[in-house]
């Protein structure tokens, strides 16, 4: 603040461009560079999304929450929990930096532990969400006009436009016996062995009476971009946690007290906030719009 205040009266072209530690100036340049690298992913996502007629509806894809069962419909709930975890861990990180400026080792340790717990909680949430999508069973019409049980992976996307009643009836007629049996098995009523013993007509009758809503298979790019971008971000969170653990150990060993300053905590903090900043945009691109 005081550097800026000292230059208040000076015209901007007479001010020194940078009045801080050299590493901080470096980090600024590096920050910009990272922004310019990373923006390619959401930009390409935007291109792909604009180029197809049926992108997945996020409120439909991300409506699950742990321990609420399969039929819960809670759009945005889980991802907002993840967002709050990351914002909270960002706050504890900035508080750790603050304690570092006051040379308060106990305070830095306390807030670093909170930040690490927040990072691990976020990673656990992401692991759950990935598992839920990768093992999820959704009925969709695939390219050859038959219905199939699909998970959300980089190779399959069951989140297309909903099938009309007539289209679904036609697709059911075209679907072979083993696929019909596996569809019936996802409806949580009968065991697989019993389904396999039923005839096609019986299975179709059962599926139709269950009120199942199937959709077209969506563009395959969805899974690739979703797992690519959230995985890219999640890996950065993971390395941020590793960096924070190293910083916590160094703090406990008293390295920064010997050095006379806690700048390393501030550098780790800049990285952590950058990861938080990227999440804000991932949240926007995948979950909100």
């Amino acid at each position: 603040m005081s550097t800026a205040a000292a230059q208040q009266g000076t015209k901007w072209w007479r001010q020194k461009p940078v009045q801080c530690k050299l590493w901080k100036g470096d980090d600024v340049v590096f920050f910009n560079e990272r922004c310019f690298y990373i923006r390619r992913l959401p930009d390409q996502l935007g291109t792909i999304r604009f180029s197809v007629n049926d992108w997945a509806d996020p409120n439909h894809v991300f409506n699950a929450f742990p321990f609420t069962g399969h039929d819960a419909n809670l759009p945005l709930a889980f991802v907002s929990l993840m967002t709050f975890i990351l914002i909270a861990s960002s706050v504890t990180m900035v508080l750790a930096v603050h304690e570092g400026h006051n040379m308060n080792r106990k305070g830095v340790e306390k807030y670093m532990v909170y930040t690490i717990i927040g990072g691990l909680a976020f990673l656990s949430c992401q692991a759950w969400e990935w598992t839920h999508l990768l093992t999820g069973e959704h009925v969709a019409m695939i390219g050859d006009g038959t219905l199939s049980v699909l998970p959300t992976t980089v190779k399959s996307n069951p989140w297309g436009t909903p099938l009309s009643h007539e289209a679904m009836a036609a697709a059911l007629q075209a679907t072979p016996h083993d696929q019909l049996a596996s569809i019936a098995a996802t409806l949580h009523h009968e065991g697989g062995a019993h389904n396999a013993a039923m005839s096609n007509a019986e299975l179709i009758k059962f599926i139709e009476s269950s009120g199942l809503h199937a959709s077209n298979a969506g563009p395959i790019a969805f899974g690739g971009y979703f797992f690519g971008i959230t995985g890219f971000h999640g890996f950065h969170v993971f390395s941020g946690v590793v960096i924070n653990v190293v910083m916590l150990v160094k703090t406990r060993l008293g390295h920064f007290d010997q050095r006379g300053h806690y700048e390393m905590i501030e550098k780790a903090g800049l990285y952590w906030h950058f990861v938080d900043l990227v999440w804000v945009f991932v949240f926007l691109c995948f979950y909100l719009i």
Partner: protein
């Protein structure tokens, strides 16, 4: 001024003695902005549930969410990353190049949209072309 720039250590410590009040205020601001985003997201969800969603309204809500996200990004960078405490020239070093992003986003979305228009217009066109060519050849052979 010269004495301050020659001893950045002192100014460095003076920067952050403002206490934790500002940090917590920013935390609550970010939380409130996120909650507003969620409420708008649920609005969009309910609009999509209807048979004929009003596309202008959906687009307006999405635009609002984008603006709120930019506000969140501003608070994270300026308060949490302490960029707001730097001298103006350093802030500009970051912000001015980021203006290119406006063009990036516009260009990439434009590209995607033209791709979609072409896809929808010419879907099935290659089939027609193939059907016509053998017929023309046969005709030529007979003649």
């Amino acid at each position: 001024m010269s004495s301050q720039s020659s001893s950045p250590e002192i100014t460095f410590h003076a920067e952050h003695t403002g206490g934790t009040k500002k940090i917590w205020r920013t935390f609550w601001l970010l939380s409130i902005l996120t909650i507003i985003e969620l409420v708008i997201g649920l609005f969009i969800y309910n609009l999509h549930k209807g048979d004929n969603p009003n596309h202008t309204l959906v687009l307006a809500f999405k635009g609002m969410v984008c603006i709120l996200t930019l506000a969140k990004a501003y608070y994270i960078v300026s308060v949490f990353m302490h960029l707001g405490d730097e001298v103006r020239n350093m802030i500009m070093t970051i912000v001015v190049p980021l203006c290119l992003f406006i063009w990036f986003i516009a260009a990439f979305l434009w590209d995607g949209n033209s791709w979609k228009v072409l896809r929808n217009r010419y879907n099935g066109m290659p089939d027609n072309v193939e059907k016509v060519q053998p017929a023309a050849k046969e005709k030529g052979a007979k003649d």
